[in-house]
Symmetry: C2
Subunit: 253 residues, 2 copies
C-alpha cells in the first residue's frame, strides 16, 4: 500500500475504468454502454504526492474524486484550531459527496501517500444521470451508502470503548483492502498514529498502547507502519460485544 509504483498511462486508463466500475456501478451494475458513457466523462488521474491537497475546506465544489491507488484522508476544522479526521479513503472509494449540498467543500482532502485519483466533474455526471435511470439509481445508492457508513461511525464513537474502536478500524481497513483484491491481513498504514487516534476519538498514546496490547495478545503483529492481522475472528469478536475482558455499557431506551 505504501509502495510507490510506476504506472503506465494505459494501466491508469484501465484501472480507472475499474474503479468507477466498483464504486459507481456496484452490484446489478449498468449496461456496458452506460459504463462506457460514464467512463468518458471521467478525467484521467495524474499522480499526486503525500501532502498534496485534493481540495480544501471552502473550495468551490466541482467534482467528485475516486481513489484509484494510494490513500487520502478527509478532515474538517474542529472548534479551537484542532481538526477532526473524517475518513480515510482507499482505492475504489469516492470523495466529495458531502459537498453537493452547499456547493462548497466543508472539509479538506489530503493525500497520504503517492496516489492516483480520478476526477468526475459533477455537472457532467448530473447531466448523465438525468438521462440514464440506472446510473441515477446508482448515484442514490452511493449517497445512501455514505450515510450508512457515517451511521456506523456514530455508533462506534457513541457506544464503543477504545479497544473496540481500534479493532473495528483495523477490520474496516482489512475488509476494504480485501474487496480490492489486496491482502486482508497484511498491509501498511499510510496514516500516522496521531491521525488514527484523531479519527477514532482517542489519544495517540491510547492507540499506541492498544497496538502493543493487541500484539501481546497475539491478535496482530505490528512493525512500524506494517500491520499483520493474525487472528481476524478474535478481532471481530472484540468489536461485536465488548468481547471478554471489559465492561460493557448498554443503554436501553
Amino acid at each position: 500500500m505504501s509502495q510507490f509504483k510506476v504506472i503506465s498511462l494505459e494501466s491508469i486508463r484501465v484501472a480507472c475504468k475499474n474503479c468507477t466500475l466498483t464504486s459507481l456501478c456496484l452490484p446489478m451494475g449498468l449496461s456496458p454502454e452506460d459504463v462506457e458513457r460514464l467512463d468518458e466523462i471521467v478525467k484521467r488521474a495524474r499522480p499526486l504526492h503525500r501532502g498534496d491537497y485534493l481540495f480544501r475546506e471552502g473550495d468551490r465544489f466541482r467534482a467528485l474524486y475516486v481513489v484509484k491507488t494510494g490513500s487520502v484522508k478527509t478532515f474538517a476544522p474542529s472548534s479551537e484550531g484542532g481538526e477532526q479526521v473524517l475518513g480515510f479513503h482507499l482505492p475504489g472509494e469516492i470523495i466529495g459527496l458531502d459537498a453537493i449540498d452547499k456547493d462548497v467543500h466543508a472539509c479538506s482532502a489530503k493525500i497520504l501517500e503517492t496516489s492516483a485519483i480520478c476526477e468526475i466533474p459533477f455537472t457532467r455526471l448530473e447531466d448523465l444521470t438525468a438521462t440514464t435511470p440506472s446510473l441515477q439509481h446508482q448515484m442514490y445508492r452511493l449517497l445512501s451508502k455514505e450515510i450508512g457508513q457515517d451511521t456506523d461511525m456514530l455508533l462506534l464513537l457513541g457506544k464503543k470503548n477504545a479497544e473496540e474502536r481500534l479493532a473495528a478500524f483495523l477490520l474496516s481497513l482489512s475488509q476494504r483492502l480485501h474487496k480490492r483484491g489486496l491482502s486482508p491481513s497484511d498491509f501498511y498504514l499510510s496514516m500516522s498514529r496521531h491521525e488514527i487516534g484523531n479519527y477514532l476519538g482517542l489519544a495517540v498514546e491510547t492507540v499506541s498502547r492498544l497496538f502493543t496490547r493487541f500484539q501481546e495478545d497475539g491478535l496482530m503483529c505490528v512493525d512500524r507502519k506494517h500491520i499483520q492481522l493474525l487472528n481476524l475472528p478474535a478481532l471481530e469478536s472484540l468489536v461485536g460485544g465488548s468481547g471478554q475482558g471489559r465492561r460493557q455499557q448498554q443503554q436501553q431506551t
Copy 2:
C-alpha cells in the same frame, strides 16, 4: 411541540405540501409545475401515535417519510442488545435516506409524540426525478446534506465534552424549530433524558446534571419537558470553543 392537536384533512393536505416544499425544494426551488407533480405522489398522512413504528430495522425499504408535525426518533441496535439513537426528526425533516443503498432499513423509526407523517414511495420519486433534472438535483442535495449532518455529529462525538454536546443539542433543536416558524427559545422535549443521553453518548445522569447546571448558570429554564433557552449566545459560545470553564482537547495532525 408535545401538544396534541386535532387536524383537519385539508390542513394536512396544505401542511404536507408545505413540508415537501421545505425539505425537497430547498432554496432555488423547483418550478410550480414540478412541485405540483411531486406533490401528487406524496401520500397523505394519517396521525400516528407515540410508540408506533414508521418502520423497523430489517423492513424492506419502500418509501421516504417526511415529518409534518410531531417528532420521530431513529435508532439502530448496538452490539450487546443496547441501541444507539441516530437522530430526532422534527417537522420538515426527512427519514429513510440511509436505506436506499441496501433496499432494507438498517434502523428503526419510532414516533415520539402524536405526529403526522407524509410518505413518498421511493420508486415513484425516482421515476419523477429521472424526468425532472431540477428535482434530481434537489435529491442529490438532500442526500448530501444528510451526509454533512452526520459529519457534524461525528465531530461532536469525537471531540466535544459533555457540556458542549448538550449545548449543541439544544441549539440544534432551537434552530430547527425556528426554521419551521416555531419559537427557538421555548419548546417541549418529546424525548426522554435517556434518549438524549443515548444520542449524545452520555449517561442519563450526566444529562440531568447538566440541565441543572445550565439552569443554575441562567442559560436556560427547565421544567420537566418544557425548555426555555434564556441565553442563546452563551450557549453558542459553549459549543464553539469549549467555552470558559473546562479543559479543551485538541489534536493536531
